[in-house]
């Protein structure tokens, strides 16, 4: 499905998509909800939606407070009465605290609940490990019927949010918290389940998901080019269903694959890509991600990623060694 994005909303591309994915999501949600009365914003005291969304569309808003297990169940109940609930919480609370309700009540029943989470990966920065989510993708990509989407920037967030409204089943949309670089520099085709080729290349492939990982992959492409290495860069925004064709093509057409993610090296994008190539087209795979462990260093998102070994330098080194 191709997503139509109105160009009337704003300004030039870079101005329109500056800022945090989270803020852009909230603007787009309001826009969608105005046009579709089935959409209901289900809040869990995330902060800000009560002044923004609720002030504009009070009849399409409910706040269930700091109670994430109940949040998922209420959303499932609402969906069973014909609503399209957009559930708002932090990734760790959705994927781990309320995992069972997400699994059984939302995903198991294949209901059109759109779980939109912030603080994916290390984007919680200085808030610390209670507000980081480094295992969320590994968990949610095992859940039945669930589409899992990780936009790389605000432009992709808009396209993803507009696409998931009309997806019949449940969705887990993983966002960060703070502003991240714009990686898509011009209008492009976005389709759920299809990787975006951000840079073409024939020697190696870098597959990335999420804001900084895709940004690092694009930077690595430039540096590798200086060394005479042509690196294909795929923005794999949909973790489930996975674009197996794009991965198999990369495994067939290039020397190997480097995966990049703001997530544990266990079970996330790297794991998913490795599963596909192992079965369909074995090739070298190097996984750039966060090492196993409980990460309680203090720092910004970018600093924590660097400490964890998710950086342009690591991507370049891994790709050059393939």
């Amino acid at each position: 499905m191709t997503v139509q994005v109105s160009t009337e909303l704003g300004a030039d591309w870079a101005t329109r998509y500056a800022g945090a994915c989270r803020d852009h999501y909230r603007r787009v949600l309001l826009d969608i909800a105005r046009a579709d009365p089935r959409v209901i914003c289900v809040d869990s005291d995330t902060g800000g939606l009560e002044d923004g969304f609720a002030a504009q569309l009070p009849d399409q808003y409910v706040n269930v407070g700091i109670a994430e297990a109940n949040l998922m169940g209420v959303a499932a109940g609402l969906a069973a009465t014909g609503r399209i609930p957009f559930v708002n919480t932090i990734s760790s609370f959705a994927a781990t605290r309320a995992c069972e309700q997400l699994k059984i009540d939302v995903a198991g029943n294949n209901l059109p609940v759109k779980v939109v989470v912030t603080h994916g990966g290390l984007s919680g920065g200085h808030y610390g490990p209670t507000h980081h989510a480094l295992e969320d993708m590994a968990i949610v990509r095992t859940l039945p019927h669930l589409t899992v989407v990780v936009p790389a920037d605000a432009a992709e967030t808009e396209r993803a949010v507009r696409a998931i409204v009309s997806t019949p089943g449940p969705v887990f949309l993983r966002l960060g918290r703070s502003a991240t670089p714009l990686v898509h520099e011009r209008p492009y085709e976005f389709r759920l389940g299809e990787a975006v080729t951000v840079r073409s290349g024939d020697d190696v492939t870098i597959v990335a998901t999420g804001p900084y990982p895709v940004h690092f992959a694009v930077q690595a492409h430039e540096r590798l080019a200086e060394r005479g290495i042509s690196a294909r860069v795929l923005d794999l925004h949909t973790i489930k269903p996975l674009d197996e064709a794009a991965i198999v093509a990369a495994a067939s057409q290039t020397r190997g694959i480097v995966t990049v993610e703001d997530h544990l090296r266990i079970g996330g994008l790297g794991g998913a890509v490795a599963e596909v190539v192992t079965e369909h087209r074995p090739c070298p795979v190097r996984r750039i991600g966060v090492a196993d462990g409980f990460h309680d260093e203090v720092g910004s998102e970018l600093e924590l990623l660097t400490v964890a070994g998710v950086s342009v330098e690591r991507v370049v080194a891994a790709a050059a060694a393939l």
Binding site: G65, V74, A76, G77, A80, G82, R83, D105
Partner: protein, 271 residues
């Protein structure tokens, strides 16, 4: 349907529960028998549902939050036309539809349940969705008493009263037992009525085996907030050898035991 008619059917429903308990897998017989009269009144005289069209959009909604009482639900669904009574003989069998905890693909099942602490949240969502659509249907959720030890239940209890869901009724099967003993030994629930009242729910306390009392509480005119019916029940109700016995929680019966249980049931049904 009048309550005198239901008074006879409640024993047929119990016989059917025992039959599932005598299946190779056994069943949660104690908690099914304690819930039998509640479910009988709900399906026989309270819920506005259509067995010939289980997905009828105007239907009242029911969620069996204590999903382990599936044998009671199947027995009742069979009694009131949602299932062919013969299908109860497929309980627990490979390829069948009757699992130990109910599945959504069964007619009349709104949500699959069995993991405790989920059902009331689902009920809050259903009630909120129906109210926002200005629909007049009601939502009923049957919980176990041991289930109230799950914290998520109290998240939903808070939401129900905060949102003023007058179309929502919770029913607690207060049989007093859980697997490891009485609720009060394991993790005390009393003073249970005071707790629900403190959380802002209209609280009714009834004899959960008295059909008229159950009917009265479940059909009282909806008010400005949610209500809870605390139904005092007997675990294993109707079968003397199972009544108020810890071991009746999950029962597997050989043919001899099954006959003994049925004989006990008949002494009660003739009383």
């Amino acid at each position: 349907m009048n309550l005198d008619d239901l008074a006879g059917r409640r024993w047929t429903i119990r016989e059917r529960i025992l039959r599932m308990g005598a299946s190779p897998t056994g069943a949660h017989v104690g908690g099914s028998l304690s819930a039998a009269d509640i479910l009988t009144v709900l399906y026989g005289a309270v819920l506005d549902v259509r067995p010939e069209n289980p997905q009828w959009p105007e239907r009242d909604r029911f969620v069996l939050s204590k999903g382990h009482a599936s044998a009671a639900l199947y027995a009742v669904l069979a009694e009131f036309g949602f299932l062919d009574p013969a299908e109860c003989d497929t309980y627990g069998q490979a390829g069948g539809r009757l699992a130990g905890h109910p599945l959504r693909r069964l007619p009349g099942i709104e949500f699959p349940t069995g993991s405790l602490g989920h059902g009331l949240s689902l009920g809050v969502g259903l009630a909120l969705g129906l109210r926002r659509a200005a629909a007049s249907q009601r939502v009923f959720v049957l919980l176990g008493d041991g289930e109230l030890q799950e914290g998520s239940v109290w998240e939903a209890v808070m939401a129900g009263s905060h949102l003023g869901l007058g179309n929502l009724t919770a029913i607690v099967d207060r049989n007093g037992w859980q697997i490891s003993g009485t609720t009060e030994e394991c993790l005390a629930l009393e003073p249970l009525a005071d707790r629900w009242r403190a959380f802002g729910w209209h609280t009714f306390e009834v004899d959960g085996h008295d059909l008229a009392s159950l009917h009265g509480a479940l059909t009282a005119a909806p008010g400005d907030g949610p209500r809870v019916v605390l139904a005092r029940t007997i675990k294993g109700s109707g079968v003397p050898m199972f009544e108020n016995r810890k071991k009746s929680h999950y029962v597997t019966m050989n043919p001899a035991l099954h006959q003994r249980a049925l004989a006990g049931l008949r002494t009660r049904s003739r009383m």
